[in-house]
Symmetry: C2
Subunit: 245 residues, 2 copies
DNA sequence: CCCGGTACACTGGTCTGACCAGTAGCACCA
DNA sequence: TGGTGCTACTGGTCAGACCAGTGTACCGGG
């Protein structure tokens, strides 16, 4: 016979549960408004501090947002990956996940996304890719180019028809960039960098158009390796190689 | 010239920042204790409710845990993926991420983990795999078998030397199982199921031992497809096929 | 000497009531 | 009609209080 540890259930937790259930199940749609705190405390029959702690938790989870002065009450937010991103970011820092692992993970995700995109892409996807490329080549300045680059990757991930891939990719991309953005900012020749990236992406686009998943994945992984591996500590670089076969 | 939206910074947020920084940077190690709430309110020079809201947020992020009555104060927790899991779970439900996407994502992660494991595995990894298999074949009852199965997958992921892969795998596995556990529980012949899984895993183990990454990845993905595809809605099943080449 | 029980100081959880800065919406005015 | 000032009300914060429950130090009995 196995028993489970028992912990007292706090009042604010019950409130979180109820509201979270309503939001996550879709009963409360994004943009909808919760009653104000004073109203909630009569509905739940608790003190305001208890209501507030519950709202704090929901706010930390990016489920709602509340601003002082708004008589319409706290707003229900659309699901977004930023909570996921925060969690992963924290975990990466706390567990001392190095750039090597991060890059390896991104090679896996991006590679798979490209593979799937090549097989599942539709006409509109291809147009979107062309458009993203055009934006990239028209970009002046590194900041703008970087935004366009993100858009390109998102387009690919979307073509792969998998939101998890889109979001995880987004998250890891963010964490990777955060770790090396200072190094990138001081890169000697940003113009050359941008031209190289653009060339890479055009190759990828062509492979996806041709439906050649293996090539697309291969190109994506190789491009990541070529551009970022120099920032990875020597001893971690070996574990990236199996992904380049 | 670009401006950014400005939002007032709440007092509790500043507290969260300070404590989170201390925890995530490792200045406060797991097991360490924070001062009690009354002590914190004098240190931060705020009221207790403000301190409490900050602690609530940190608690929701699984960074600390506090129990009433403990004179040692709130405890700093070790980094764990459960916060990540909660975020992903919420997102999966709210965005209506279907079983198809989930399974696809898991095929990507597990496949890559197996590929890497085959290339990077060491002697102890192989022993651990053998041990996990022994536990599986000795398991009596489905619950025990399932635990051993999880352990096997974790061993593989660990052999791949990538914590992100380990954790993401864990998360997705959890969500997938949650979605179909009821169907699985009523499966007609659990004994046969278990025997099939065991056979799959032995093949995988052999491929990893042989260093044949492609086969290991292939076997892992195929096994997932064979066992779970029947629960995936017909129209989503097509997008799994590109991963089975 | 060790051990089980007890008292106590203190913890976090919750409530009440209050004040403040700041907002949305409305009535008012030009 | 279009701007403008007022006002009711919001969330953020504080102070003080009570309670159930915990850890520990103390104490008495074996």
């Amino acid at each position: 016979m196995q028993f489970e540890p028992v912990a007292p259930v706090r009042a604010y937790e019950r409130i979180v549960e109820q509201i979270e259930e309503a939001v996550v199940s879709g009963r409360l749609k994004p943009g909808a408004r919760l009653p104000g705190e004073r109203e909630l405390m009569t509905q739940f029959e608790v003190g305001r501090s208890t209501v507030r702690e519950a709202l704090r938790v929901l706010q930390a989870a990016e489920l709602i947002r509340s601003r002082p002065g708004d008589p319409r009450g706290p707003e229900v937010l659309a699901a977004s990956p930023v909570a996921l991103q925060r969690s992963m970011h924290r975990l990466a820092r706390a567990e001392h996940v190095g750039l090597g692992e991060l890059l390896q993970f991104r090679m896996v995700l991006d590679g798979s996304a490209h593979l799937l995109a090549a097989h599942l892409r539709t006409g509109p996807d291809l147009s979107a890719l062309d458009e993203a490329l055009a934006t990239m080549s028209a970009a002046k300045g590194y900041a703008e180019f970087s935004r366009a680059d993100v858009a390109f990757h998102e387009t690919v991930a979307r073509a792969a028809r998998n939101q998890l891939l889109v979001m995880s990719g987004e998250v890891v991309r963010g964490v990777v960039l955060e770790l090396i953005e200072d190094k990138l900012a001081h890169a000697r020749d940003q113009a050359t960098l941008m031209r190289t990236w653009l060339g890479h992406h055009e190759q990828v686009r062509d492979a996806i158009r041709a439906g050649d998943g293996e090539s697309a994945a291969q190109l994506a992984r190789q491009a990541l390796y070529d551009n970022y591996a120099e920032y990875v500590p020597e001893e971690e670089r070996a574990q990236l190689l199996p992904l380049l076969t």
